[in-house]
């Protein structure tokens, strides 16, 4: 651990490397070579030299902090070795239930097949934007093409995760709703007419 450090200390760009470390540990997005050069008030060639030193110092197997070159520039990440520990740190508690709006939206998409936001809103009688966003984030629904016609609205359908969470072998295994209508089309019509009554 000591020897390579001495190497860096001997290097003339040592102080620049420390400045770059500092910038990267504060940054909340990857930093480009230009941004680093501007902040460090140094030239890009020396920045790249310093980044080379840092890439060696902060690499897998050697450090828990790893310097990564990504699309937007350079950023620190956790080493793969520490993946389990990071997983435990960021673990989210299991959520027990969904909101009524989420259940309704999920039921509409599940039973009626791919639907766009305007269609969900038409059937529910209220806008579905935040419910749709929440279900997308949880991965219970996903985009599935667009409505016909130019500029058609994005459609959503349920995902395999949805089937797992609801313990369904397939989407066809949803409880039957014969009491509401013979076909999907009939159910849709019925929901629509009720929704119109609600908003009237």
């Amino acid at each position: 651990m000591d020897r390579p450090l001495r190497l860096i200390t001997a290097n003339p760009v040592d102080q620049l490397a420390r400045t770059i470390e500092a910038l990267l540990v504060v940054a909340s997005a990857p930093l480009s070579v230009d941004e680093l050069a501007q902040a460090a008030d140094d030239d890009t060639v020396r920045i790249e030299t310093a980044l080379g030193l840092l890439s060696d110092r902060y690499r897998e197997g050697r450090s828990g902090i790893v310097l990564e070159h990504v699309a937007g520039g350079y950023a620190f990440r956790a080493s793969r070795e520490a993946a389990d520990a990071c997983g435990r740190l960021f673990e989210r508690p299991v959520e027990r239930g969904l909101s009524q709006a989420a259940f309704e939206t999920l039921a509409v998409v599940g039973y009626l097949g791919p639907c766009s936001r305007p269609e969900i809103a038409r059937v529910r009688g209220v806008a579905a934007d935040s419910a749709v966003a929440g279900l997308l984030e949880r991965g219970l629904i996903a985009e599935a093409g667009r409505d016909d016609g130019p500029g058609g609205a994005v459609r959503y359908q349920t995902t395999p995760l949805f089937e797992r969470v609801f313990g369904l072998e397939s989407i066809a295994a949803l409880p039957r709703l014969d009491d509401l209508g013979e076909s999907t089309e009939e159910i849709r019509e019925r929901l629509h007419s009720v929704a119109v009554g609600k908003t009237a």
Binding site: V94, E95, L106, G167, I187
Partner: protein
């Protein structure tokens, strides 16, 4: 005098001459509670110090104004304490005031310490919020019952309960109908019993009939008598003389 009213002020809540501040406070466009009165006093004293002679009239004027402002502010800040503090003996009040001033003094010292501390920490940079390449955990949902989905859809298919609009359908008979009816009765008899006359009508009709009765009373066509509260109301024709008298007066 001018020394008071055009006194320039630069406070947290206000910047401008003293008289404008007073105007805003009196118009309730500026909360007296927001005004730092000590700063106004300091500005005034500084201005006095800048001038060679002491303008006693201005000082008196200033004292009156600042005292009024202080009272307004105290009332605004501690509306509930008027009674509480009024009950204190002067010595107790002084003790309480000393306690409060000491507490405020400590807080001012603490504020000064925080200010110096923050200035000393200007070189400490750290990230607030997530790291650029931090893991993005999935949200996990406990297993759910598919029957809840069916229930949700059934609930959507349920027509909402009809809001009762029955009160909109109430039919009010015209007052004129009862005016005509009562005039007709009085044409036949000098007096009649209101309760007997409206017996058998529904509550709405009875109410409108009563309005008609009041109307007749107002125009002086009838006189009303009631022996006791809730006793039957006697309606009688008023004398022809009184009626004409009223007609003349109201013309």
């Amino acid at each position: 005098m001018a020394a008071v009213f055009d006194l320039p002020l630069d406070l947290d809540a206000f910047e401008g001459p003293f008289d404008l501040l007073l105007t805003l406070v009196l118009k309730e466009e500026l909360e007296p509670a927001e005004v730092d009165i000590a700063a106004i006093v300091i500005s005034f004293v500084e201005r006095l110090a800048d001038r060679d002679e002491l303008d006693l009239e201005a000082c008196g004027e200033f004292l009156v104004l600042i005292a009024s402002l202080l009272e307004l502010k105290a009332r605004a800040l501690f509306p509930e304490e008027d009674a509480e503090l009024a009950e204190l003996e002067p010595e107790e009040a002084a003790e309480e005031l000393a306690r409060r001033l000491a507490e405020y003094r400590r807080m001012k010292d603490a504020a000064a310490w925080l200010g110096e501390r923050l200035a000393g920490e200007r070189e400490r940079f750290f990230r607030v919020g997530p790291a650029p390449l931090a893991p993005r955990p999935d949200r996990t949902l406990a297993p759910q019952d598919p029957q809840q989905l069916a229930a949700a859809l059934r609930a959507l298919a349920e027509p909402p309960p009809q809001v009762s609009l029955s009160h909109m359908g109430l039919r009010f008979p015209p007052v004129g109908q009862f005016l005509a009816r009562f005039r007709a009765v009085l044409g036949r008899r000098r007096r009649f019993d209101f309760d007997a006359e409206v017996e058998g009508l529904n509550r709405i009709e009875q109410a409108v009939a009563f309005l008609a009765l009041l109307e007749l009373r107002k125009t002086g066509e009838v006189a009303l008598e009631q022996a006791a509260p809730f006793a039957p109301i006697r309606v009688s024709r008023s004398d022809e003389e009184r009626k004409s008298e009223w007609t003349v007066r109201s013309a």
